[in-house]
Subunit: 367 residues, 4 copies
């Protein structure tokens, strides 16, 4: 098939391998007239850049983005926006020793089986570096959403089991922390643990939480294209994600209806909810409260410890992964999760515009 | 937009309201030559039928399915299969008193806001009765999958906090239990609790686990159409689902890489894994192990307790829901979860068939 | 794959065979709040009904449409509209003699080759009766379009080589003629010819022209989803269509640029064109002039003359088709062409609503 | 919406403006293991390159293609193939004088109306230069198709009214001619006419015919995704196309059924047809004969003659187009038409692979 294209009305088409010449994305469906420059995108890419925190890979990349189309005189034209980042620091030689070996919990084996052949350099297309294209597209989506007052607060909620209960109020609270966790106390403990983790040649996982503010009521379609359904798909398309929940999530399975139901109230003339167990979505549509979801990331599979595995011929063998790997990807994943949420929301934002015949009539007033 | 169509190559288009004249589904993309009769579908519909367990709604429906197209002389023809179930026991009058009131944690408010208007009878399109169409389509998908040896074991893993650690070996172990839980000890405790729950005019939630056996290696596409991504979307499109995880899921976020990584082994000549934390999916593609995922269901929002809410004009008021409602939907949801997984897997099964140029050449041998 | 679903935001999913129990369509994406009743659809179905003109098949069908979902209290709800027509007068026995023979210029051979099996009764899914679902969906699309002042004039421009140069001004001019040709003189000659054609056990083809008035400027997307591109697809999806042209069409290939170019003028303050060689579309987008296209229909392949052909085993043989067939399908195709144009236009009408960031901002004004 | 993405299983996503920094395409869905290098693509790009014939624009571009992803060690990997061509010779200054004027029969007016804003340099996205991306993708599609023996003969059938009845037997016959017309006699007359046309500051149109050989029986889906329907869409997505016909096309509308029907015969054990009025497609599926279609191109709208038009404010004015324009685009369009046909056919080739349950079972033989 394909599988690198996402969305219906706001469509992104991503491409590129970890150790190829470049990675990029084509965004088809961005409305015309939006102010857009490379810096709008670069600032998000910088948040996921290798070396953006000290627990990330030591690979050095400037990750400089170029806009190749779709923008004219500083504004989007309504035609496809092509964004590209050239790779600079590929050390493919790091990988020749694992060319014929399947790294545990990586996609080597499945890639080889499906395609009969694989780009073994840094995981090729299955590398986390692929998310760069998503972040670039997400920056454009967030630019659109910010035009109607939608804002994101996405952060590391849990790292290696160290969890915070503090909810951030500003983006600065998040991104000023080395682990993008708005709680310096917990963050310091996590950092200490991670330091030991690196010494042990091991890795860790964690949880990212995303809060979306200002979403109008009614975004999302009623059956298969529910907002939560679309978010689940988008977030689960990240290689290391193993769990997704919205609002009270898994915990709601243990509650009674009388505990979990959110009572509607009249909040100074505006319909609102007393609690937000729903995570801002009812029946697949945004309900006007904050949208809140969490994604669980498994620990990085690339560890320097010796592991047992098989080679391409099925012979059992041992492997010691070398190269440049993150012992924890969660902080760098924060901006990726945010990007996927923004892309998803933008797509459904458009399709909501013709839900009522009156909206259609109002748009196409008589010539 | 739309939102009631799912899939790319195996597409289903569902329709129907809780209290309309009928519900149904059109399946477009079923291969020709498959044996198919109404009983193949009816047996699954019976497992989700109102009254299929004593904790379900008391609404009486035979839910008899009719095949209106796509089958000729007992075999599918390759053209769309239209399935319909006529509603028999609509008591719309139950709902006139809530016509202008928003039930807490239901889709009434979001529906009304999005469309400016709603079918208030039993939730209309947002009713759980909508899943009937999914089960019907799922039965066809499972028929296709069974042709290549793929089988499902889906069951209630947790009900109202009562959780089992027993893994079923047969479908009979599951469906012989009143709560579709393959553990009579835990099931009895849960049933006792539910009885009290009904007396208290309250409701409960739970967790469904799905195990898929016999999936060939390589099903799923590499970036946005990953198998886990597609499953997450499909499962989260069920109204009451608030969490989804695969393999070790959320728990893996607390593990070290060395604990979570699944070592590859040679199992009598076949590449296999020592553990299955991955839940049978690596890099978005099936890895040959059992696929295992879990879905968390919130407690049924329809409870008979008095609740505070607002009416259509935003005035605060009280509501006492009447009618026929399940205090727990988890048992009936088992077959729905299975259906969604089967539909998703079938779709990706087809798209895997042209992953290699050699497969294409082999299929189209010279005339 | 599938192939019976059309559209992106206004999606139709059709089903049903000529001699099955019913045919129908599910419309997903109709905005909420549109007045809709069965009569709105029935009046178009009546225009394509067998026996709607004396040169059609003698098959007797009432073609009564039923709305099974998506409409509540006389208005669309925004959820899928399921429409069904039950077959009444299937004479499948007419076809047993051709069960193993391929009718020339029919889809018997290709169907059998592709699927290894076919519903031979009246062509099954490849029957012209399949267009019933399209007409039903088209009636809904036209209802939407009429809300913003878009109207259709579709008619038989040429029948069996008898061509009119008269352009209709009203629908009544068209549908009051027995061949749906707004030119009684030419129509009578064509009718006389057709009478002879029937006597000769032969058949005829023709050309349908469609004029769409009141389309706002800018409908259609710039590259692959151009309005003309989408119309071409929609019209060519009709089995008997062998040619499609827009505006001056094939004749423009012989003109000079200076002859073919349409000069823009200021028509009482409104930008307009002096001529309309473009057929109302420039660069894939509606240009504010009438949209004008033509579709060429081949002669009905079912003729009663003896023909040579092969059987299912490749043996050469003779065939004499019996049963009830139209010697000309063009008049009945008029409403089908119109339906396809309306469905296509509606889909693109919606996607145009978020072409500009200002439109998005205007729609989602601050809460 | 979007509109620059085409296909379902073989998807192309094109981008780029005439006077931007680059143009390109992302191909998602190319099977793994196909030999592919830049020269495979370059040779087709050279056939449409400015200056590839003396009646083309004088703009000088090397149109050198770069493969940025999806190919590893000379073979496709199954992941997206990103192709880019950098613009070298943009003379945007040619266009500042028409910044505020709508060129007749161009997309200036519709673009401006739809997006409220436009890249006026050379038509931006609506430039013929956009087809470069299509040709690049088409070269990859043809590489796939050639693996199963499908070959193309596409040529100028008519230029400025000068038409040939000769059918080419080899690609060399076509591309050795300066107008890509396999008939030097007619080609010379046409060339002479074009020379005069240039002197008159005028332009001409023509017809391209495409013949596809070796297509297996059964490609194409039965209702909306018919092979002819998909081809019509693909070809009509070219800006200058105003007509499309298959087989006998418009002429068949004047024939009797007994004249137009193609009799099946047994050709040395293989089912074949005595004639090919169908153009190789029956019921939307390939019938094993050559696929033959024609596209009518309007004369180039850019002429150097003075024309009347309006400016952006609706004021009537005159325009004299300057710059570098083809007086005839038909020869350069030949390879573009071929590309679109190849892309379309490849997409439908894949979806045919799971038409029968037996094909699915055969592919997924027990592990």
């Amino acid at each position: 098939m394909s599988g690198s294209i996402l969305g219906k009305n706001f469509q992104i088409s991503t491409w590129g391998e970890s150790h190829g010449s470049a990675l990029g994305v084509v965004i088809d469906g961005c409305p015309a007239g939006l102010d857009l420059c490379e810096e709008d995108i670069q600032k998000d890419l910088n948040l996921r850049k290798p070396g953006s925190n000290k627990f990330g890979t030591s690979r050095k990349e400037s990750d400089a983005v170029h806009i190749l189309s779709g923008v004219f005189e500083g504004k989007t034209t309504g035609t496809p926006i092509s964004l590209v980042v050239y790779n600079e620091n590929q050390k493919s030689s790091d990988y020749t020793n694992i060319k014929n070996i399947f790294r545990p919990s990586h996609a080597d084996y499945t890639f080889q089986s499906k395609y009969g052949f694989r780009d073994y350099r840094g995981g090729g297309r299955s590398s986390g570096r692929e998310t760069l294209s998503r972040v670039a597209a997400g920056a454009v989506a967030k630019k659109i959403l910010s035009e109607i007052g939608i804002e994101f607060l996405t952060y590391s909620k849990e790292i290696a089991g160290f969890s915070t209960n503090k909810t951030p109020k500003t983006r600065d609270e998040i991104f000023s922390d080395q682990l993008y966790m708005p709680d310096s106390e917990v963050s310091l403990k996590a950092a200490e643990y991670l330091k030991k983790c690196v010494e042990d040649h091991d890795s860790a996982g964690g949880i990212v939480e995303c809060i979306i503010k200002g979403v109008p009521v009614g975004i999302g379609e009623t059956v298969f294209d529910k907002l939560d359904s679309a978010l689940a798909k988008a977030i689960f398309s990240l290689g290391a994600v193993k769990g997704f929940e919205i609002g009270t999530g898994f915990a709601s399975a243990k509650l009674k209806g009388s505990q979990n139901n959110d009572q509607f109230i009249n909040n100074s003339g505006r319909i609102s909810k007393k609690t937000n167990n729903s995570g801002g979505i009812l029946g697949g549509m945004s309900d006007g409260s904050d949208i809140i979801f969490r994604a669980a990331f498994k620990p990085t599979p690339s560890i320097f410890k010796k592991q047992t595995t098989v080679d391409i011929n099925g012979n059992e063998t041992e492997i010691e992964i070398k190269g440049r790997h993150d012992p924890i990807i969660v902080p760098r994943a924060v901006i990726v999760v945010e990007a996927m949420a923004a892309i998803t929301l933008t797509d459904l934002l458009f399709s909501n515009m013709f839900s009522k015949i009156d909206s259609v009539k109002n748009f196409y007033k008589p010539l």
